[in-house]
Symmetry: C2
Amino acid sequence: MSGKFDFRLLSCDGRARRGELCTGRGRVQTPAFMPVGTLGSVKSVTPEEVRSCGADIVLANTYHLYLRPGHELIRDLGGLHRFMHWERPILTDSGGFQAFSMTGLCRVDDHGVRFQSHVDGSSHVLTPEKSMEIQAALGSDIAMVLDECPELPAEYERIESAVARTTAWARRCREAYTGPGVPFAIVQGGPWEDLRARSARELQELDFPGYAIGGVSVGEPAEAIARVAGLTAAMLPEDKPRYLMGVGRPVDLIFGVDSGLDLFDCVMPTRNARNGTLFTSMGKINIKRNEFRDDPSPLDPDCSCETCSNYTRAYLRHLILSGEMLSARLNTIHNLTYYLGLMETMRHAIEEGSFSAFRREYLDSPAAGRYGGDDR
Amino acid sequence: MSGKFDFRLLSCDGRARRGELCTGRGRVQTPAFMPVGTLGSVKSVTPEEVRSCGADIVLANTYHLYLRPGHELIRDLGGLHRFMHWERPILTDSGGFQAFSMTGLCRVDDHGVRFQSHVDGSSHVLTPEKSMEIQAALGSDIAMVLDECPELPAEYERIESAVARTTAWARRCREAYTGPGVPFAIVQGGPWEDLRARSARELQELDFPGYAIGGVSVGEPAEAIARVAGLTAAMLPEDKPRYLMGVGRPVDLIFGVDSGLDLFDCVMPTRNARNGTLFTSMGKINIKRNEFRDDPSPLDPDCSCETCSNYTRAYLRHLILSGEMLSARLNTIHNLTYYLGLMETMRHAIEEGSFSAFRREYLDSPAAGRYGGDDR
């Protein structure tokens, strides 16, 4: 392990934590949400826009960048930060989740994951060492270990063996990593508390700079996500950052922060934006709906993003129905502003000791009103 | 006719003219290139970006906006400027060209054009009066008359009848127009000098605030465009703006300015951008090519646009090959900067009396090097 890395807790409010993560590429105020820039681009927006929406850090996908344009190419061009023109912190996933989920043929054994590229069908093997090599070449500030993440529902024995393999792979990742950042471990264990505990304990024995909760939001109901995230968070060390992977809706972020988690990522704000599903202070809306046909008001009167400052709902509806590319961009700017603004509000609430009041108020507000049930 | 409108010639250099067009929405420095915002959006970029690329005026398409979202909706929302968040001048075409070219069934008679929507197959009739009504509702600053524009090659008699109908329709448009801007007439006549002269003479008898050259770039070779544009320009009044419709390549703009034309529009910079064809000081390149795979240099070292300032050729190639939406946007910003920068260079050259030297230098430079032949 190399690289400047430090995590400081600034204040706590209940289990919710306000912290600061210091990397060689700058600071991340936590709790933080990381916009997803799969292929080295947060879809439709520039790094400057991602930043002005409020992001301190972005996530990029190892699997995708390994296949296209290739990690060696990116390394030779000065690393991912320079390549994508984002000089602030980057977290990369291990590539394992996509190798499991995006590819046709996929075989896992103790050695690693054998898969076929979704781009051209070519065969590849992702081992813990290979994943670390790729992430080191990309030059990310936080590199995630390769883990085994079974889809749910799965049997206890299946998850138990994934926990054992995840620990073994985490050890290999820890030893193999030579990049400029730090590796984070990933706790597995599915819905079982004893397996989560075992995974958390085994990984802490390896002493990682940060810990993630994996294997959530992989097919189980929303309640299960909150339960597992909450119980696993309590198993993780106080003084290290805790990252809930791939979650989720605004209310999930609130529950996550309430459980003492510090980092989040999800494609929801960006992907939903491209589909016309927009997060507002009045709840989630689909801008394609006929009711917005001649609506001269801004998307969200409580929002001061570029989209809400300059365009009407009628125009945003026109853009998406006409297939105009500007649609994705304006919608993405708004949704990212919403998500990142929500994180900022939570950070302030924790600082002021008013997090539980904020939480209660949000859950009673129209913003949360339409999130009932498992509507991811 | 209403609205503030004035055209002043500031200086001339040979036939090339440096002028200023004053509208109620602001001034347009001529010779000017108008980026195309078909559906009320220059594809993939914001109005602020269009402006910072150097545009004084944009073009929007009457046919498209009439079908989606509808001109009455736009009127009720305060007009097209407010709708698309572009407060500077807008020119709208008549809708005729698209009704002729984009629709399956299309019948023309003296009354107007009957066509079926390319969106949903619904039947519509576009008359001179209807075209003016739509453009008045949009609130454009320059409204183009409905003209008949036959595809080339066409027989003399066919073009002769189109000229007669175009004059008759121009008269009806002139009488019907009640919008906030001014109407421009369109000279037809195909490749025949006598028909062009007749069309130009008949339209000038109607005394329009500006004149366009239509029926070029509709299937004929590049040499024919330059010839017809040149001879028709000489038939138009000195003190009125002259607009060459739908043209073209950078060299066509240079020939057009050299012929005394003032306004131009073309989808080429924006459409080519989305295909990865980019205009540079070294000539036209396709950024998808393998030679750019690991190229760390900016797209055009002589360009200071956002794209060339922040990104490498390798990254631009990666974006387009990966289907990333940011690709269209970064490429569009560059191509518009190139086109609008070329216009600015020509304006300065005319002011300094060095237009013919500029023209010679450009045509001898690598920038023009790959434009030989009819490679539109």
